[in-house]
């Protein structure tokens, strides 16, 4: 939902991006209209339009005149690339920095990562049972 920390138009753009990334909005699927976004999130329609238009500018959405807004082909790949880049900056770089500080070598770090993966799997399994 909408929070106070950032401009609303950015949050609207992100909500749509999330739906495209996790497949809830397929490529070539129609996106709700800005008025529908405005009514649903109870926000100013001009603000909702700004969020949607930002994705149009980035080639994630495209307009069909008189019909509405659609997810562009290739949008998901584009977003995944961008999110992987962000993942590297937000998670991997600080992780590597901290690992260096603690004297954890590359191999040890790789081992830890695979251990954390199996660790998650076992804990998930135990929850499932």
């Amino acid at each position: 939902m909408i929070d106070e920390s950032r401009p609303i138009f950015m949050q609207i753009a992100e909500l749509i991006e999330n739906d495209i990334v996790d497949g809830a909005l397929a490529e070539e699927a129609q996106v709700p209209s800005t008025n529908e976004f405005a009514a649903f999130y109870r926000i100013n329609p001009a603000t909702a339009a700004k969020g949607v238009n930002r994705l149009v500018d980035e080639g994630i959405l495209y307009k069909k005149r008189g019909i509405g807004m659609f997810v562009a082909t290739g949008a998901r790949a584009l977003l995944l690339d961008r999110r992987r880049e962000e993942f590297f900056r937000q998670y991997v770089q600080p992780l590597a920095r901290e690992a260096r500080k603690l004297g954890i070598g590359k191999e040890q770090l790789a081992q830890m990562l695979s251990r954390s993966e199996t660790g998650t799997e076992t804990s998930e399994r135990s929850v499932a049972q």
């Binding site: 106070e4 609303i8 138009f9 926000i43 100013n44 329609p45 001009a46 603000t47």
Partner: protein
């Protein structure tokens, strides 16, 4: 932020309004652009109603210039027929029913939508045939809200339109406002002290305090423009050093400091490393901080987030 296509529909230049010994508006200059939802916010007595009154020719300024659609609004029917002003305590002829009030509004406002007014009356469960003086305070407010929405005037002023409306009825008002504005873009100027409720509906925010304009900015530009840092006093002090401080509170070794400005990702990470909590300051809190006298008795209960206690 003003896009090139936007047109100024109201110009206010150096407007001052004095009543006997009080200055209600103090050298106010402002442009209102067409097609936006404005929030006119501020404490009671800050000058909101006075500003709306002079813009709608219900009062006359002591000095300064006002142009509405390029003309003087005073005794100017060409201008006034394009404006709807719903006051906090709007008066209607005593023996009128809501239905009759709507019928006379239909004569005055050329864009009046009769079917929309009917739907709104249903939404608010307003008895149309009952005489207005027999209506409850909330029902009376509903009459005003319905006239304001169904008139579809080019400029609509809502001055605290919801005295006596409960939370459900206010939500109906906000929802219908957003829906109808989506279909029929026009200029809405909404004065409110329920800032948290209306913040997301606004495109532009004007904050007035003691007769002066304190903020005149895009709602999106204001959002996230201040933050509060909470944690160990010394660390909070070090982290907020050199920033413009809006408010400070402390409890034993803990401090909570609100500052103007935005944080970069790096600064956020730094705060987290120092064990500091960072939270955004809402529009309502921001206005409280900026319009509160920093007197000793007020800073004692500085945690209050309501601008005022409603009567």
């Amino acid at each position: 932020m003003t896009a090139p296509g936007e047109s100024t529909i109201i110009e206010i230049r150096n407007v001052t309004k004095r009543y006997k010994d009080t200055t209600a508006l103090d050298d106010v200059s402002l442009n209102i652009y067409g097609g936006k939802i404005y929030g006119l916010l501020g404490r009671n007595g800050a000058g909101k109603t006075t500003l709306m009154s002079v813009l709608t020719a219900q009062g006359f300024q002591t000095s300064g210039e006002i142009r509405v659609f390029g003309e003087h609004p005073y005794e100017n029917d060409r201008v006034l027929s394009r404006i709807c002003f719903i006051r906090e305590s709007q008066k209607y002829p005593d023996d009128f029913s809501a239905e009759q009030a709507f019928a006379s509004a239909a004569l005055f406002f050329s864009n009046w939508d009769k079917a929309f007014a009917r739907r709104l009356a249903d939404d608010f469960q307003l008895p149309l045939k009952r005489r207005i003086k027999k209506l409850s305070r909330g029902q009376l407010s509903a009459v005003g809200v319905i006239i304001g929405l169904a008139s579809r005037a080019e400029v609509t002023f809502f001055d605290e339109p919801y005295l006596g409306l409960d939370a459900v009825a206010r939500q109906i008002f906000y929802d219908r406002l957003v829906e109808d504005y989506s279909e029929h873009q026009r200029t809405i100027i909404l004065s409110s002290h329920l800032i948290d409720e209306v913040a997301n509906l606004l495109e532009h925010v004007i904050v007035i305090d003691k007769g002066k304009i304190m903020i005149d900015d895009d709602a999106e530009a204001i959002r996230g423009s201040a933050f509060t840092v909470v944690g160990t006093g010394t660390r909070v002090a070090a982290f907020t050093a050199g920033r413009e401080i809006l408010h400070r509170e402390s409890l034993a070794s803990l401090a909570s400091v609100s500052v103007q400005g935005r944080l970069s990702e790096g600064e956020r990470a730094e705060a987290a490393e120092l064990g500091l909590e960072v939270a955004p300051v809402s529009l309502q809190q921001l206005i409280v901080r900026r319009t509160m006298d920093p007197g000793p008795e007020l800073s004692m209960n500085g945690a209050a987030t309501e601008l005022e206690v409603s009567p």
